[in-house]
């Protein structure tokens, strides 16, 4: 019996040994070495191009919007827009089976009237006498209130963006049911590739990257402070982040690198996911800001801070705004220290818009380097919905997507001008980032994800409504209403 198994035993050992060696050699040559030197073979871009070809489609002419051309009785209509090949197949399949397809959310469920309060009330006044207040004025607020119950701008930003075309990931598609065998097979093959091949590869890389980060930064920490230490620390950080970037198969295009943040400044960027940090830090060296965590994160944080100064706050210190501001100011005052990386939104937004920037980082009074990050949702949704998924779940999702493709724009540095206060400065920076990244610039506070609306906003609404009321109630002559803000934009 034993002699029967022996040859197999050694054969298996040999095979395992060989495959491990091959695996590690490939890993070293194609991934780790380029990461150290910051060069790229271009394999990831090739991969991205082939994925695009798979998703791309022959463009179809847009049919008219069924909401407008609806005869009383008609066969189910389908709205064909520019679709991916996969969606096209689904549409054909659905037509054959005479089913209604569930259309992507991109237009919202209701058509909101763009008319402002002023126009609405003018219309209401047209019939009959001219009182200052009419019983029907309540209709406007009632309707807007119910509209917001059905569909509101803010909640939309905290759920993942829906795609018009399917990228063969079930999680981003609502239409998945069996349409054709061919499509299902393709999807199945996709699953096999992603979970069987890509995921283990990426997890290995991730562990390598993180492990190297911890070990090497601890080693660098043993050096005496000086130029050598800073140089080594930069190199080590960059290398490890680049390995992590490859672990996620992130294909990043950096624009305008001449505006990269310099020492003694603050870098601000819009926040979509924790990966933002890795993306930015693999192209430049930053001092991170954050809360001290326990566990693995804590180990990483402690190791990193040995090599170069990062700013980690204890949980109790976070509440003290002055302490936070002081530590940040001290850091930027020291020009040997790296620029600070801050995400002023304070929470993850789904990358279709930029929400209110918290003014804290803009009060410090140093140069601000804005950066815009925009992810391409076709390859995998990078948004972290922290109420739905935990961190580990999220990372698994990321590592089993096709790829993460994003663009980073470095904007020219901005400083606070004489007449501006911190809030106006923050809004100016926010507008610049939104414009560059092609995101909607919203006034809403990202903290509204969890918190309540401030009273001041309600007062604004009352003010606007009352501005159309005359100052003296004596005359029944309706005053000419002056220009005022569109209520809807507030």
């Amino acid at each position: 019996m034993e002699s029967y198994l022996f040859p197999f035993d050694s054969l298996i050992c040999m095979l395992l040994g060989i495959s491990f060696t091959v695996w590690f050699t490939l890993l070293l040559v194609f991934i780790i070495v380029p990461a150290i030197f910051g060069v790229s073979f271009g394999i990831r871009r090739l991969y991205m191009k082939s994925l695009i070809k798979l998703f791309e489609v022959r463009a179809l002419a847009e049919l008219q919007d069924p909401a407008r051309t609806q005869p009383l009785c008609s066969p189910p209509q389908w709205c064909f827009k520019r679709l991916a090949w996969a969606t096209l197949r689904m549409e054909r399949g659905a037509k054959e089976k005479n089913q209604h397809l569930y259309k992507p959310y991109s237009n919202g469920i209701i058509a909101k009237e763009p008319a402002s309060l002023e126009q609405e009330i003018q219309e209401m006044r047209r019939g009959g006498a001219e009182p200052e207040f009419d019983m029907s004025d309540i209709f406007y607020f009632c309707r807007r209130g119910v509209e917001s119950i059905v569909d509101d701008e803010v909640t939309k930003r905290f759920t993942a963006e829906e795609l018009e075309s399917w990228n063969l990931l079930t999680r981003s598609n609502y239409n998945f049911h069996h349409i054709s065998t061919r499509l299902t097979v393709l999807w199945g093959v996709g699953v096999l590739i992603r979970y069987g091949f890509l995921l283990p590869l990426r997890v290995t890389l991730a562990f390598t990257g993180v492990g190297l980060l911890v070990v090497l930064t601890s080693i660098v920490g043993l050096f005496p402070n000086g130029r050598m230490k800073n140089y080594l620390s930069d190199k080590v950080h960059l290398m490890c982040y680049r390995i992590c970037v490859r672990a996620l198969t992130a294909i990043i295009t950096y624009h305008d690198s001449e505006n990269k943040p310099k020492n003694g400044g603050i870098c601000v960027a819009n926040h979509t996911s924790p990966i933002d940090v890795i993306i930015l830090a693999s192209d430049g060296c930053y001092a991170m800001v954050g809360q001290v965590h326990g566990g693995l994160m804590g180990v990483i944080q402690r190791a990193m801070v040995k090599a170069c100064p990062h700013i980690w706050f204890e949980r109790s210190e976070v509440k003290d705004r002055h302490l936070v501001a002081k530590r940040l100011s001290d850091h930027v005052a020291d020009t040997t220290k790296l620029p600070i990386l801050i995400f002023p939104e304070g929470t993850c937004i789904n990358n279709t818009s930029v929400m209110m920037f918290k003014k804290g980082s803009f009060e410090i009074g140093c140069t601000v380097y804005p950066v815009a990050i925009k992810y391409d949702p076709r390859f995998g949704d990078a948004f972290w919905n922290s109420s739905k998924f935990g961190m580990v779940n999220y990372l698994l999702h990321m590592m089993s997507s096709w790829a993460i493709v994003c663009s980073v724009w470095y904007l020219p540095p901005m400083s606070r001008m004489e007449e501006e206060d911190a809030v106006q400065f923050a809004n100016r920076v926010k507008a610049a980032i939104a414009r560059k990244g092609g995101l909607a610039d919203l006034l809403w506070d990202g903290g509204l994800k969890r918190g309540k609306v401030k009273e001041v906003f309600k007062e604004e609404q009352q003010k606007l409504y009352s501005k159309r009321e005359p100052e003296t109630s004596a005359d029944a002559v309706r005053p000419k209403t002056g220009p005022f803000l569109n209520l809807l934009r507030l």
Partner: protein, 193 residues
């Protein structure tokens, strides 16, 4: 996720709901998604706090009245009630044949007016008293207008609408004062598809 049909099947009595409200299957599915999005804890019903979490509604001067319209007399809102109340805001079906025995549709002009009336009439006595009118005015105008101006506006409104001189506006008087207003346009939400 899942097919259109399977989502519809998960909703109990969905055909009755569609018949009563006039929403199409696609609308019901969208509203169901919205219901689930508002019901963050997945309990299957909504309570006032879930509505309070909608920021645009919190900013609305009569936001809490609208929430009240959903919840009184009940304490929780299930999906059926949610859809039925939202059905008030469907545009009037102009082409619907007038069957003599069928009940009035939820989105008729009269029912829309009744919905708006209850936003004013918080104590549900069937009349809008001067006090209730003042409360609404205060909510919509706030600190921007003095108390005397509010009172004079209220007085004038009641004077014009109150036909039987009981110093309150009944539903019929409310309806009459709005007979020239295009209620369908003002109180309708255009649901896409």
């Amino acid at each position: 996720m899942g097919s259109t049909n399977s989502t519809l099947l998960k909703i109990p009595n969905v055909e009755v709901l569609m018949r009563e409200t006039g929403f199409s299957p696609a609308h019901i599915i969208r509203l169901h998604d919205r219901f689930k999005a508002l019901d963050k804890e997945g309990r299957g019903y909504l309570c006032p706090q879930d509505f309070g979490a909608i920021k645009e509604l919190a900013m609305n001067p009569i936001g809490d009245r609208i929430i009240g319209a959903f919840f009184s007399p009940r304490e929780t809102v299930d999906f059926h009630t949610f859809v039925k109340i939202l059905a008030h805001f469907r545009p009037v079906d102009k082409d619907r044949p007038k069957e003599p025995n069928s009940p009035e549709p939820i989105n008729s002009r009269s029912n829309k007016l009744k919905f708006a009336f209850q936003l004013y009439d918080q104590d549900k006595d069937g009349k809008i008293s001067r006090d209730e009118l003042l409360k609404v005015l205060r909510a919509m105008l706030g600190m921007q207008v003095t108390e005397e101006q509010l009172e004079s506006i209220a007085d004038r409104t009641i004077q014009e609408a109150d036909l039987d001189r009981d110093d309150a506006i009944s539903f019929e008087e409310f309806r009459k004062s709005l007979e020239k207003v295009n209620i369908d346009h003002k109180m309708s939400i255009r649901f896409l598809r």
